[in-house]
């Protein structure tokens, strides 16, 4: 039970761009256990979406994995043939995307697509796939699933579409559900509903969920553990309560200090983290956050920081953190 169902081990990935390469993931290690909800937090450009894509093997033509691996139930996925990897998608690992408005094809009905998406289950007649899809739509809260199945995506609201997307992802009872910014494109009410829905479903189906988001509130509501990413690396990892109450990595602390919801004293100004992201076409030799970090020393800029274990399930990537 404590064996992770999905683990990423020292994964490094870079994108080929005109003029060279850009490092998107730099030796990232993360794991999620069955029944656990893992949050991956970070600002835009930190690599969290790339990590999500790498987990489901949807990284794109110009992406190159330079080292490391992704394991599903201990088995190295990346060493499998392309066809075998394809068969895992939807079946073992499924994904919900950020924008529900463009997630579905406009020219096929919701039902047709939900049946299509069960492609990787064999020996099940189409009729049964249709019924499964219908049940799942009911389960995610669509009031008239039969009608919804025969509707086209543009006839459903954004919230309904996102629910349908979640239903689609769970159709084949995958071991891992990855949600890439599932609520970012929704308004606050819908966001709350989706969060609630995910919590329920997780309690029911006990799948592992990986939520990628920059929204710290969603993480607080849903996750058991959090990994904070910066410039392609995991800089801190901890159980969620621990992270919010006792952040150790300077970046995490700065990030939490910036969240308006967590500000206790009104100062009249919104805090921000000064400086900019490092240029990942030429990654810095030392700590990526050193430029912007209040605690940084000369050593930080030159020597890559160690991963310091801070307790069970807890670590930070920093020179200046004491265990």
């Amino acid at each position: 039970m404590s064996e992770p169902v999905l683990s990423v081990e020292n994964l490094s990935l870079r994108y080929r761009v005109p003029g060279g390469t850009v490092a998107a993931l730099r030796s990232v290690s993360i794991a999620v256990r069955q029944g656990e909800v893992l949050g991956i937090a970070g600002e835009s450009g930190c690599g969290k979406s790339t990590l999500a894509a790498a987990m489901i093997d949807l990284t794109g033509a110009n992406a190159e994995i330079t080292s490391g691996t992704v394991r599903l139930r201990g088995q190295d996925i990346l060493s499998l043939s392309r066809d075998s990897r394809r068969r895992l998608r939807g079946r073992e690992i499924a994904m919900v995307f950020q924008d529900p408005m463009t997630a579905f094809s406009p020219v096929l009905t919701v039902g047709e697509q939900l049946v299509d998406f069960q492609f990787n289950i064999n020996d099940v007649p189409r009729r049964e796939k249709w019924i499964r899809a219908q049940h799942m739509l009911a389960r995610v809260g669509l009031t008239d699933p039969d009608l919804a199945m025969s509707r086209f995506p543009h006839e459903l609201s954004g919230g309904m579409r996102q629910r349908a997307a979640i239903a689609a992802a769970l159709l084949m009872r995958p071991a891992v559900l990855i949600a890439d910014e599932p609520t970012t494109a929704l308004d606050v009410t819908m966001e709350a509903q989706i969060v609630h829905l995910l919590r329920e479903l997780q309690a029911d189906y006990r799948c592992a969920i990986v939520i990628v988001t920059h929204h710290l509130g969603v993480i607080a509501e849903l996750c058991d553990r959090v990994a904070v990413m910066y410039a392609g690396e995991v800089v801190e990892e901890a159980p969620v309560d621990v992270l919010y109450h006792d952040p150790r990595h300077p970046y995490t602390r700065a990030l939490l200090a910036c969240d308006p919801a967590l500000i206790e004293e009104a100062t009249g100004r919104l805090p921000a983290i000064g400086g900019r992201l490092p240029d990942l076409a030429h990654p810095p030799p030392g700590c990526a956050f050193a430029e912007r970090c209040r605690l940084s020393t000369e050593r930080c800029r030159i020597v890559p920081p160690p991963r310091v274990a801070l307790g069970p399930d807890r670590s930070a990537l920093c020179h200046e953190v004491a265990p």
């Binding site: 068969r87 499924a94 995307f97 924008d99 463009t102 406009p106 492609f119 990787n120 543009h154």
Partner: protein, 316 residues
Amino acid sequence: MLRYAVKRIALAVVILITVMVAMYAMVFLVPGDPASLALGPRATPELKELLRERMGLDEPVLMQVWHFFHNAATGDLGYDVWSKRPVLDQILEFFPNTLVLGVTALGWAVVLGVALGCAAVVWRGTVTDRILGILSVGLISVPAFVVAIYAILIFAVWLRWLPAIGAGTPGDFGSQARALILPAFALGIGWVGYLARLVRASLLEVMGENYIRTARAFGLPERKVVFRYALRVAIIPTIALLAVGLGSILSSAVFVETVFGRPGIGTLITGAVQKRNYPVVMGTVLFMTAFYLFVVTAADLLIARLDPRVRDVFRR
């Protein structure tokens, strides 16, 4: 879908009627009397009177209009006093030739255009893509009848491979096919460019859409992703273009048929224009407009069948 179809067809009919009204109005707005214009300044009054009577011009205007509509609705597009045959008969005799030419021209243009468009996508960003792009634009702009004349010069006069004039001997499929090659080539060449560009743009746009990513995320094989998810959407603008293309090609055929001396709507109408034989001209224009509207409406209905978003367009 049905509601959309009914509304769409009704719209086409209304447009057709409007066009007919406009054309007929034109005849009356112009000073001068069609019969004298047709017969020339040396015609005797008796001859003019006879022609007027034949053309139905001696009746009150409203009666003429009524006749025109009534006749058109029942398929009688008037009577041609020159050849002493109903106009519609002549049109129907010549139209198949033009249709064959048009369909052949568009047919080969589609095959080559789609192939080039797909090639540009496969090799996108490379030099080949840029060359194809410029070639496409270049092909669009060259006028069909200039190509026709050059083609005659090269293939019929210098190389003597293909005939310059005529449509071949009726009954001899081989000679007809050979006579079709140059005209269809000249007529279709502009459309290769349009189609190549459109196919390329549509495919690229669609392949970049998020729902393609979703389909892949659920492990659908690439074949299914391309055909069921990408092509179904990408093909829609192409169908729209083809519909307009057929109508446009049939008109451009006027010049190409004249250059090649092929019997068809083109030769029918140009001959009529030169003789100021306006029943034939009006009838032909009407017929071609009706055909064009038919093709465009049919294409629209096909598109609505494929893309459900279109069906809501009539809802305000």
